[in-house]
Amino acid sequence: MTNTMTTRRKSNLTRGQLPKYTPWVVVAAAVVLAAAIMTLVGFSAFGWGVLAAILFTVGLTGISAAVEGARQAKDKLATCLVFGSFLIALLPLISVIWTVLVNGIPGLTFDFLFYSMNGVTGQFDDAAAAGEAPVVGGVYHAIVGTLLMTLWATLISVPVGLLAAVYLVEYSEGGRLAKAITFFVDVMTGIPSIVAGLFAVAFFAVVFGPGTKTGIVAAVALSVLMIPVVVRSTEEMLRIVPNELREASYALGVRKWRTITKVVIPTAISGIASGVTLAIARVVGETAPILVTAGFATSINFNVFSGWMASLPTFIYTQIITPTSPSNPDPSAQRAWAAALLLIILVMLLNLAARLIARFFAPKTGR
């Protein structure tokens, strides 16, 4: 808007401003200068990037201070710092995704998705490593195990978490019990996941005898981790439902429990559903509690109530720690990377699902 068609001459109001292309010139200068310095002291890509960023910040701030004055210079410096922090936060994420993609895509085949590790021995991997046969064995049993255990964990934690949140928001009136529940939920959020696993093991050892390792034990361990997240997110969502809606419902002669089930929860359902999905995404990658509760199976098991079960994280763990063929760990590593890629895709899909659910359930607007 500053450069309108009619004002070709320099406006007095825009005096002392740097031209729009200044940052790009400074970037180019900083990159070239950093490259020159780095060749003198020994080149490395990482050092080049860091040095260029520092030179750019100093250069732009300095030029701005000289031409535009102190206030603009401070603004430029703050912009550089904010943007730099953003890049630093983003770098690990991009790096992780890139590494997993590069290492995981070769192993991610159709057979990999729909075969288990049942009967795959070191001989197959030796042959694969020698280039005589393709890498066999897959992750099907682990996908089944992950989905089933997460499903059961969700079935346990959603009712408990939802009802606890309803109690806290609608019924407790800030009493001592509510304060205690809130405190212990906060404590539970901080429980190390291995402790949750050990709790589930101990619990089932007391009820069904020691050594019970099944999918449901893992589901209980996961639900211990999920419940506090579900309670917290549901509580937040119920609290932001305006009190006026509750009063409107009461004023129509509607009972409290009906008001909660028909007005309050439907109004908050999009937030609750996405909170639950994010809680699932949080526990789907848990390794330690599953290792101690469900063991690590190599064959397909659809029954969570009997026998060991695999999951994607434990699959990755066992493939790396104890390769199928100890002398040729490469095929196992390839399977582990492919499983890791699958796990990331699964978590991303869950996050996407949370957004879709939130949009789908959100109160409709429009005329």
């Binding site: 006026e244 809606l245 009063e247 509607v254 009972r255 109004t267 607007t365 429009g366």
Partner: protein, 259 residues
């Protein structure tokens, strides 16, 4: 339909704090009664005690009697839900249910209580209620659209339609026009004038012209100072209150000398 309300020696407390003291008032059936007074004088609080909505606030309680055609609302064994289905309420800010369509908003009182109702009956009820709230012409082609898409004044009339759909005896209105523009206010006031043929209407308002326009009787509430309970100062015909008040403070208030 439409019943009389008799209040006898009513005190309202929030915990230990006495918010309203010694109110005795008779609200006739099929009439419009306005409560006026400065902010914080307890008129809204008192209004809420007429259908036990104050119980939603933790620690709120009353002493005294509120009789609906002779039956005590606070008698032993009286279910507040029964009370509220007979005495409806419209709030200061329009609050249609955001998850429901216009049609479902009108039917909310029926549907939320899981009463069985046939399609034909519900269609008739929706039309009757929306006509009763002077909203039918404006929304009849978009009944399945969300209620939150309406303008503020339309939303408020939707809330009134929702309140009359449960066929109450009495309708309480807590500053129903304070969030509306003058045109919407006029629409709601016209509606109040029609409602009094079938319902007992009690309205709290900060707008004295509004009280003068819509009501037959007016009650003036006041407080002596912050921390003191609100009291009913004067209650009589609206013309009396505005033209020939008995109390000095009423005259000061309605003539704009304070408040």
């Amino acid at each position: 339909m439409s019943k009389r309300i008799d209040v006898q020696d009513l005190n309202v407390f929030y915990g230990d704090f006495k918010a309203v003291e010694d109110v005795t008032i008779r609200v006739e059936a099929r009439s419009v009664t306005a409560f006026i007074g400065p902010s914080g004088c307890g008129k809204s609080t008192f209004l809420r005690t007429l259908n036990r909505m104050h119980e939603v606030i933790p620690g709120a309680r009353v002493e005294g009697q509120v009789l609906l055609d002779g039956d005590d609302l606070y008698g032993a064994g009286v279910d507040p839900v029964t009370v509220r289905s007979q005495i409806g309420m419209v709030f200061q800010r329009p609050n249609p249910f955001p998850t429901m369509s216009i049609r479902d908003n009108v039917l909310a009182g029926v549907k939320l209580n899981n009463k069985r109702i046939s399609r034909a009956e519900s269609d008739a009820l929706v039309e009757r209620s929306l006509r009763g709230a002077n909203l039918w012409k404006e929304v009849k082609d978009r009944l399945d659209k969300p209620g939150s898409g309406l303008s503020g004044g339309q939303q408020q009339r939707l809330c009134i339609a929702r309140a009359i759909a449960v066929e109450p005896e009495v309708i309480l209105m807590d500053e129903p026009c304070s969030a509306l523009d003058p045109i919407s206010t006029l629409a709601v006031e016209d509606l109040i004038d029609e409602l009094k043929d079938n319902y007992t209407v009690v309205i709290v308002t900060h707008n004295m012209q509004q009280a003068a326009r819509v009501s037959e009787k007016t009650a003036f509430f006041n407080i002596a100072g912050t921390g003191d309970p609100g009291r009913l100062i004067e209650y009589s015909d609206t013309t009396e209150i505005f033209n020939n008040p008995r109390e000095k403070s009423t005259e000061d208030y309605v003539s704009g000398r304070f408040g």
